[in-house]
Symmetry: C2
Subunit: 356 residues, 2 copies
Amino acid sequence: MKKHNFYAGPSILPQYTIKNTAEAVLDFAGTGLSVLEISHRSKEFVAVMEEAQALFKELLNIPEGYHVLFLGGGASTQFAMVPFNLMKKKAAYLNTGAWAAKAIKEAKGFGEVVEVASSKDATYNYIPKGYEIPADADYFHITTNNTIYGTEIREDFDIDTLLVADMSSDILSRPVDVSKYALIYGGAQKNLAPSGVTFVIVREDILGHVDRHIPTMLDYRTHIEKGSMFNTPPVLPVFSALQTLKWLKENGGVEGAQKRNEEKAALLYGEIDRNKLFKPTVADPADRSLMNVCFVMNDEYVEQEKAFLDFATERGMVGIKGHRSVGGFRASLYNAMPIESVQALVDTMKEFESKF
Amino acid sequence: MKKHNFYAGPSILPQYTIKNTAEAVLDFAGTGLSVLEISHRSKEFVAVMEEAQALFKELLNIPEGYHVLFLGGGASTQFAMVPFNLMKKKAAYLNTGAWAAKAIKEAKGFGEVVEVASSKDATYNYIPKGYEIPADADYFHITTNNTIYGTEIREDFDIDTLLVADMSSDILSRPVDVSKYALIYGGAQKNLAPSGVTFVIVREDILGHVDRHIPTMLDYRTHIEKGSMFNTPPVLPVFSALQTLKWLKENGGVEGAQKRNEEKAALLYGEIDRNKLFKPTVADPADRSLMNVCFVMNDEYVEQEKAFLDFATERGMVGIKGHRSVGGFRASLYNAMPIESVQALVDTMKEFESKF
């Protein structure tokens, strides 16, 4: 049976990435060796790293003065690296979910943190607006897509404070005006690569202005200076990232991805709004994530939740159980998700509805 | 042409690991999904993580009270995590190479560092002995195998200070009395897995005794509490690590590995000592690494260095160029290296000698 991969992350990758990675595990770039056992200093892998950085810059139209890094440690390590490198005294954070809250908790170890607004009181089911960022904040941190709750900030804010964004789960899903950001980071295991590599886009001139001692590996300048090769990088995840970037370029770049993502999301949100069994968890369409579509049973059908999960699982839907803090269902529609899989889920919802 | 992979790391892995990883990239554990796109919270991957930790403990006979962690960030991140978690005021380090020196540099950001001895004056071509460890040191740090220079400490020191060891390049190559160590860590990309995962063996009762603020991701207790799943782990590298651990168990465990490693090293060092063209860089056999065999041209044949490298490359030898700080040649003979490849290198050395 065909499986439809709706996991929130690690999550679906293009078949192009999967096929090329499987081949490289057996023979990498005609070396006669596996990509698992190739030196990161080999000319073949150095070419992979350089092409991945260049293609990332090309696809997101990243301006001069920014660097693209591929690091280990995950976005959770970035929660500490950002204040380590950028916080002099005070930073501002927008609390839009559990991951934003973790970033806030981490930053508090480095100075004063102002939470400018929070939607925690409503299980993070909307994006707060109309807040003020303190003029003396060293930076303002946002989480553009909130995987657990299905909300997304799809606007590139134009503010006077340095803007830092965790884009773990919506990077490369739409064009981004990178010039509006000082730093963008994320775990790669949604729209880019298997888990084990973290991307960072950083404007070089924001670094070097704090007084604290920064451990070498946590200092962005270390990795800029060495082109992400200060220490051994995660070779296979970077190789797979390059495959995904090539696939994206062949398929219309981030503009093409955005168009497909809007179509997929419209298809599924349309069905959730129409189907009498379900309702969305995010009321305002402007706040709804194109990446993670969260929905629950309508009040009169709450007892059918388990039955629908089983029904969908029997039809090849994988990973649609909602996060325990929200309940219900979550279908993640990352770049690599074909509209045929979204249609299969929609068909399953219709078929289940016809039983009532 | 058959390639013989003598890379220092990332480096040769068992064909069992490569084959099973290639298969899992196409279909992981019968899920119909790639290991690249499987949730780390799926029951199939949770089973991989738990089995890898259990098998690591079994193979190294790790006593109660220790935890095995699989983290991101590389050994270079451990250079900071060790003092972050363990240094109250003072730590002692043995300087046996460039990696030890990096660990020392990092520790100086956290307190007083006593370098108890160093072989830097002799391009690190021996392991210093007869030093004293200050009684008030919070821990004593060693690098058991020095990849660049071909030296190795193959003894488990019995000391009164907490013993911390970077075993990046000789873990699982021999039995280790883990009870003599407080903490053992290393990048996995030599004897265990592709790059992107770092192993840590830590005795729990040594943690929680420092006053400084430790960022969440840099606190070993975070990862102990969550079984290395606090954040998304590097899924594929952990899967591959499990394959290597299974292979090792099937092949006599660390005792079997030690026997094979001793045979391989004896074969190659024997040829270096015999062949009139070459000489070893490490004079004392007791200090010679079984993992990385370093040798240079004898004085009267120095001009043949490039010719031998080309000669060997034409015969399928990969990665035998020595590190620039030592020159000459380095053949890495990690666990997965078959004796047939070592014999092929020895035959190449003999064949080249016959030309003179």
